[in-house]
Amino acid sequence: MMAPALTAELMVDRDAGRAVPDLPAEAGLVIRTKNGDASAFEELVKMFQHRVFNFVLTRVRERQSAEDITQEVLVKAYFNLHRLRRPEKFKSWLFSIAHNHLRDLMRKRKLETADGEETHFEHYVDARTPDREFSQERLKSRVRAALARLKPEQRQVLVLCDIEGLSYREIADIMRVPLGTVQSRVFYARKRIKEVLVSQDLLSGDEL
């Protein structure tokens, strides 16, 4: 039953922990961690902590809470690493843990944002970037503000797709939704961001 899933792992194991060339860098670190190398997991944390943190911020208002949840997700990943059969899938597996953990927290605390409700998470608007600073930074700040106005599930899909570079199939597996739902959410979320940016443009009189 487990044989096909273990194939990639065994290939790497036979190669003394070095990942084969077509596997992502994290695959070798996953194997080394499974073999008891603690420094390998430290490398994994360094590689992914900001990615998980960024993803958690799509659902959580405050940075401190987001950091606490990120910590729990990474700890959970470490203690469940033996369940990961395909090391090359570590990234999407980690986001799955984060997504499930957030979903459980939201369900338990009944803090789920209502569908259709616009959210305004202040962390997306970088207060350290005043208007007089470079226009590129100003634009980023406005894009973050527009992202914050999306529905939570749209925000998550865009972060996974456009910032993390995951495929539609990986996103569908992480969020446990059909492929067509991912496709539709990406399309309409981008349109919504453009609408918000254009409306800000009209209000502020700036060029995008």
Binding site: F41, F53, L105, R190
Partner: protein, 203 residues
């Protein structure tokens, strides 16, 4: 190809997610002659580029240390340790008690059941080999009823261990996510007449 058939696929086209070569060619041909769809496609590409340029919000530099600290010592505040230890011990006691009860009650009954069952080509007995109750691909067969019980006990212990680990993580997340964060662990419990503070940290 009509615009309505195409529109929602434009995001996927911008992401390189149209894997059907024929469909991709049809879409490109349509884009070449439809200004409205070209505009929509350009929007998708533009916003994708803007988001890709955002980069990541960075967590505190102490996060790495905190994570590694949790892995190294699995330090859990004494209060939670005790509470979970009592809960775990109680659950384990109940499982053992239940299993012992089942064994005591059903052992004599099983003798009768197995004697009553027709087992062609095999001797009739309380502990005759049982057929596998797992899917075929597991290829696990129990040597005896006692073996089955032992395996079920092992499964129960594993479930208890997993549950205990989950509860531990969950409790710590709840405490650490409260307004006072880790400090809340060390605080005295509020007086009975003090109003409870609402948790507004997440949402």
């Amino acid at each position: 190809m009509k615009c309505v058939e195409l529109t929602e696929l434009l995001g996927a086209l911008a992401d390189g997610e149209i894997h059907d070569a024929e469909l991709r060619a049809q879409m490109q041909a349509h884009l070449a002659q439809c200004a409205s769809c070209r505009e929509e496609y350009a929007l998708q590409v533009e916003v994708k580029g803007l988001l890709a340029g955002l980069g990541h919000e960075m967590p505190s530099p102490f996060l790495l240390t905190r994570v590694l600290g949790r892995l190294g010592s699995r330090r859990v505040p004494a209060f939670w340790n005790l509470r979970l230890a009592y809960a775990g011990a109680a659950a384990a006691f109940l499982v053992v008690l239940g299993a012992a009860g089942v064994l005591t009650v059903s052992h004599s009954q099983m003798l009768g059941v197995y004697k009553a069952l027709p087992v062609p080509g095999a001797e009739r007995g309380a502990f005759a080999p049982l057929p596998s109750i797992l899917p075929d691909d597991e290829e696990v067969h129990y040597a005896s009823f006692a073996d089955l019980i032992e395996r079920r006990h092992a499964d129960a212990r594993e479930l208890l261990r997993a549950r205990s680990q989950w509860e531990e993580l969950d409790s710590i997340v709840r405490v650490l996510s409260s307004e006072d964060g880790e400090e809340a662990i060390y605080k005295d419990l509020p007086e009975p007449d003090e109003p409870a503070e609402e948790d507004e940290n997440t949402g």
